[in-house]
Symmetry: D2
Subunit: 340 residues, 4 copies
């Protein structure tokens, strides 16, 4: 079976496993107060070119979004996001559970539009009943988006500039950050750090067993952050597991290399799909490929291919997702090409 259904189907990159194995019986303090976490933080600060960054390691994405958003917002604040954003749809109400409304803007292939964001803010503050409404207190975007699309540098700058003007933090969800940066035309890791107020570097989908690195970039860490993480049930006892993994991911450019590998695999598959006349549902450059498939063909493919169901297209077609990752082998790519 060719496994392309998601980018979190395997364990971790062999180097990460090696590091966990080598350190397994060492005794260290808990809760992230160990030397591996310190080392990982230093390496990340260098990689993002932001020496003042303040970094926290959490286990998973929804947990990270909930903790970041709830710790940065006041009671009266909501978070602005695309209607298709992960926080708006697939987190089981984790944001609302923490008391905050997700204020949605239209999603354009997963992205929000800077002009629509500005208009929404202008309208909100001009509204005579603004005091009776949730205050837009943060902007959340994902890079890449849930549809595998990317903001250009100019688009990020426009959104960032609006956020600055309204004194609203910009939060970038980087669950698949490596896959975005590898495909980006003009956006670097350093740009992400510069243009956001807080972002997270996804490990779960890029080579770690689990783990997301929250980066506060503007000396803007919420007070008592460890207490807030603990309160959200998000403080890992053996915090060094996160430190060891991120230390490895940020040694010798491994994180970026894994991103490049997955994108190269995806591009190679995309080329074949185009060659063979398949319709791409979404034209995006990252590790997720959305294809419109004839249902009969799909039934046949299912015997050899594990893919992700995305949505019904019409009576006889289905949109599927093919996801590559750090773990995708050349053999699997070739295997997939053969059966297409």
């Amino acid at each position: 079976m060719l496994y392309f259904s998601c980018d979190y189907a395997e364990g971790c990159h062999p180097k990460v496993l090696e590091a966990l194995t080598n350190t397994n019986m060492l005794s260290t303090p808990g809760y992230g107060e160990d030397e591996f976490c310190d080392s990982a933080k230093e390496k990340i600060k260098k990689a993002i070119n932001c020496p003042d960054a303040d970094i926290y390691f959490l286990v998973g994405g929804t947990q990270t979004n909930q903790t970041v958003i709830d710790s940065m917002l006041s009671n009266y604040d909501g978070v602005v996001a695309a209607a298709t954003g992960h926080v708006a749809v697939h987190e089981a109400g984790a944001i609302e559970y923490s008391g905050h409304k997700v204020i949605t803007l239209p999603g354009h292939a997963g992205k929000i539009d800077a002009l629509e964001l500005r208009q929404m803010l202008v309208d909100h503050y001009a509204d005579e009943s603004a005091e009776h409404m949730v205050n837009p207190g943060m902007v959340y975007i994902s890079y890449p988006t849930e549809y595998g699309t990317l903001y250009s540098k100019a688009e990020l700058e426009a959104i960032s500039s609006i956020c600055n003007k309204y004194q609203i933090p910009l939060f970038i969800d980087g669950a698949r950050l490596a896959y975005g940066l590898a495909a980006a035309e003009d956006v670097t890791l350093s740009d992400i750090a510069k243009l956001s107020d807080v972002f997270y570097i996804g490990g779960t989908k890029v080579g770690a067993l689990f783990g997301e690195a929250i980066v506060f970039t503007k000396n803007n860490t919420p007070k008592h952050m460890i207490t807030q993480i603990k309160q959200h049930g998000a403080l890992l006892a053996k915090g060094r597991l996160l430190g060891i993994q991120f230390d490895t991911l940020f040694t010798d450019g491994l994180y970026m290399k894994m991103g490049e590998h997955a994108v190269a695999c995806a591009n190679s598959i995309r080329a074949t799909l185009r060659e063979k006349g398949y319709q791409l549902y979404m034209d995006n450059p990252t590790n997720q490929i959305f294809v419109v498939m004839d249902n009969k063909e799909l039934e046949k493919l299912s015997k050899e291919l594990s893919y992700g169901f995305w949505e019904k297209y019409d009576a006889t077609h289905t949109v599927i997702r093919i996801a590559t990752s750090w773990a995708t082998s050349d053999a699997a790519v070739e295997g997939l090409k053969k059966i297409l």
Copy 2:
């Protein structure tokens, strides 16, 4: 100054004030355990033709919506509402504060569409990732809506039937219930009780100083309801004030009569507006009138008329709201007609 800006600008109906005055120095138990509350409940049960109803009196609308929704939903549930619904827009996030997402459907002149509701539910339960999404656990509609429009009996039956099928309670926000029923073609108070699982009878906007009567119609009161009300800060110490007011509202049909008065005033104003060629922004039959006004004319009117700003229409026009109520005098109506 002619005051038409809202329907909660005055105190209470003289009969309500009289009842409060007559009972003022009586000593009664607190928290609604008094004879006036008992009497009011009996009268309401008769008026709604639902002898098994269970009734609670709260102070205000947002408080009522928050308490009803939070007490009836489980953690994993959200409430489905029109994107223009009060709970979705003008309650400062009170629903999210209580942990629940407001899942929005398009508003059609303030109303949700039964087919769109059904489709949303079908899609939700068919979605492979439904477990990662908020469960639609209740449907909220307002009668009349925030735009003064009304559901027909057939529309209510369609929504109610979908809710029954999916075992989701239907909650009707009746902040302006009297103004809706007075204008309804085929919907009665008894229909509201029959077709909903829970609804509230608005007093604040219809003759009371304050007060909303929550009615659980299907032997479905949440457990420990008094404790839940208290927990939401919504248990009035001198509960009898609510009992006395609702007892008066439901004596000799006063509640319905006030509704009829306000609607008659509104219709009279509407007739004049149409006669004089004004454009109605929204064609609705209840106590709120939405008019597209030329900005220059509006400036002049402002000197004699207190109206509600609704929204900008275009560069030279504004949508305003003219609201009548139980307190609207014939003199005010005539005064308004004169200056139009």
Copy 3:
């Protein structure tokens, strides 16, 4: 029947009712943006000798405590209170519902001890695992306490000084403030304002139909306070009802006079109780009297007296509460004395 069971058994002081009646048909803006609220705020600022105070009117006590505490605390904060404090016991978990722990100190006849408070804070910050614990973010005391006892000025100063040192706001719950000040040896309304960071002036139990005036005394109003009040379901549509009532309470010293009346009644009853050899359960100077009663005698008294059950004392005795108020008549006091 002689009604002494609580201090919220009647409506409102005749002057309050008169003011509500006189203004009943006036049209005013909603949500507290009316002239009566403005006037009441000015009178309160003078009465408390704090021209910079910022004042908000809410409906009830639990609602007020929840809104003040939640709006002033951050996520990681809890509120320190006596184990017998209203927020710790009788608010149905309203504080925890808003996400905050009530951190309890021993209650000494309802009061916390300044030294115990200091020790708790010292211990907390010295604790190596403080980051894993709720941060003590506010101190809540009630004046008078739930047991009718009072802090002396020196005691208030000691607590206030500790709060200042630890940069923790001191919140004084004044549900029965007038009854406390009338009995105080050396504490004035102005002291309450000076020594607290926020307090509330209780109206529900002192002559209003309902209403509590929150006073932020140190230019420390939480941001977007109206939005926060709305979010807690605590924004009264006809806000002027609160303004009219507090304006009356703070005209010609009515609020203090009502306090004095209730305390005089209580003292007169206490004298008779002592004379006749009854055991007072709690020696306190305010409007609540706690008496140890023989169960057989109590049974007899019950036919003519409505009292508050407080707790079982032993197999043959019960502690009852006799509460006087602004509404207690001389006739009732004499009637009670006769049957004792």
Copy 4:
């Protein structure tokens, strides 16, 4: 340095690491829908002798307590716990953050007393103001307790029987369950399952990298449990990591063997401590040893020993915690004995 400061200082048992390594590059579905989770659940059901058990794997202890408690309680419920219980003290308010009060009973060497529990429940339901108070909706105990002490079977039966009578679920926090069972006189894993309504088997402190297995024992899983876990940010994407670990822990009795090893180490150290005349602060039979140390001697020991600070004993003495675990080597035990 001899490392005895806690029982989560190392990675995982070599067999667990081996299993993770062997499965690392396998592709499996996410979120616990893999064969390893299935297998682990079957093995646990056998080990606890409860074929109907329903099992969920989460990452950490606070997360587990928060998710179990919040998913089983209604809004109006609180959880009863010892004042020294983990949920009451060291979870940064995670329970209150989810809206629930922790109702405390006195801790007796970490344990609650069945009679005190019964009295509390009797008093609560007899209280006339019970409706204004948080409802006791669950009992939480830890086995072993935070002080390393154990309930006897009779004590567990007494608590369980009270919970049954009041229809309140009994939740047993088994963060260190193996260390408790290894030292128990008459309590087995099967007893824990039989006497509780829900409990969790701690992996983080007993040989896993991380992981806690929640066991619902009475066909009482809360509805939409996966959604609730997700909402709490507690659903691990690569759920198989938990399945693989627990599958290993419950193969060939590894979980119990690790417990026995740690307790044997602790007993051996305890014997030496007694021999050498040290004062044990708490007489308990599990893997945590609490010793009263002379400060001067402690200073010396600190050079070679990493211990846990527990609390100040008096001006010249300190209580320290020495914790053994599955990872404690014989060499370390001998090393410790030598320097005592």
